[in-house]
Symmetry: C2
């Protein structure tokens, strides 16, 4: 029943990367805001690294001037949204394993809370996120069989699906993270979350 | 009297470039919003070209994927703010002459309206902005001696001041346009105008 109802809600596709700090801001915000507007979220974890590589680019934040600015901006934006923020000592952190778990659980009730806790590992607790143990622990704390889920997520079918989803991101014209799609309309960056939700809920 | 009063208002420095489409959005919006919040604007025209050149970069919008997105985003943002929008047939347009005029007039009552009309020449009427005649015409329509002002703005002292102001932009860490400074705090992009004004008016 729940599923049948939620299928009729307007949808926003949310393309995000666990290593991306502006994705952190959106992951923390999106579920509350989407619920308020009656919009369903299609969770679409992907890997930005292979896309940047295909475009022959490095993350903007690694450019000297832009990076200096962006780290200041991130601290300020987190404060604006009432989010905790610690600049990670390792950047960008690999997020392949949590991306696979989030892909496996994209339709599960735990996906939002799982993603938020992984993001907090990276951008609040400054811890490695590409390890089975802390990911399983998050799910166990939420009363799911954490070790089993994480193991299933590292199996070949899910690995292949994450590669496909990343390739789909590239063919959709994605060049950064996060992104929101409403139908074919693309919105890039945490700054466009509100515009995208407004369009979806119209 | 007016001058003495306005000096005591909190100030935002507004660094913009006449060829920059996101600067167009901010130029059209800033005066109304700053007035509403009781914030004084320090108009700081500069040239983005020499800065990008010094950084070894091209405008982001010239990258294929990012450019495709940005032109869509600009049309959508202009609609959101109720602004007219035409993608310029020449991009980026040189804006050296209007930048000199805006620098000469930075403390004059006509600076805001002059900047808006130049931006509309570029991003609504799709016309060349690096010509004396249309710039003089704008000022004449506003009841100022247009030809004289434009001629004075193309003289060596103002040319030198624009070069200095552009160099100052670079040393402040500017790598794009528009930018807002509140004290030493930098905000990049039209998306940060509201945050910058909020800080200035606190």
């Amino acid at each position: 029943m729940e599923q049948a109802t939620s299928k009729r809600l307007p949808e926003i596709e949310f393309w995000f990367e666990f290593g991306s700090p502006y994705s952190y801001l959106s992951v923390m915000r999106i579920e509350d805001e989407a619920r308020r507007l009656g919009v369903r979220i299609g969770w679409k974890p992907f890997l930005l690294g292979p896309i940047l590589q295909a475009l022959g680019k490095r993350p903007s934040i690694e450019e000297k001037e832009r990076g200096t600015y962006m780290w200041q901006d991130l601290a300020r934006q987190a404060r604006k949204y009432g989010l905790r923020w610690v600049r990670p000592s390792t950047f960008p952190r690999l997020g392949v394993m949590p991306a696979r778990v989030a892909l496996l659980g994209a339709e599960e009730p735990w996906v939002g809370e799982f993603c938020r806790r992984v993001m907090e590992l990276n951008f609040v607790l400054d811890r490695d996120i590409n390890q089975a143990a802390p990911l399983a622990e998050i799910l166990t704390e939420l009363d799911y069989p954490g070790a089993e889920i994480v193991e299933a997520a590292q199996a070949e079918p899910i690995k292949a699906r994450l590669r496909e989803q990343t390739e789909e991101a590239r063919t959709k014209g994605i060049f950064g993270a996060p992104n929101f799609f409403v139908g074919t309309e693309m919105f890039w960056g945490n700054d466009r979350l509100d515009d995208a939700l407004a369009l979806a809920s119209k």
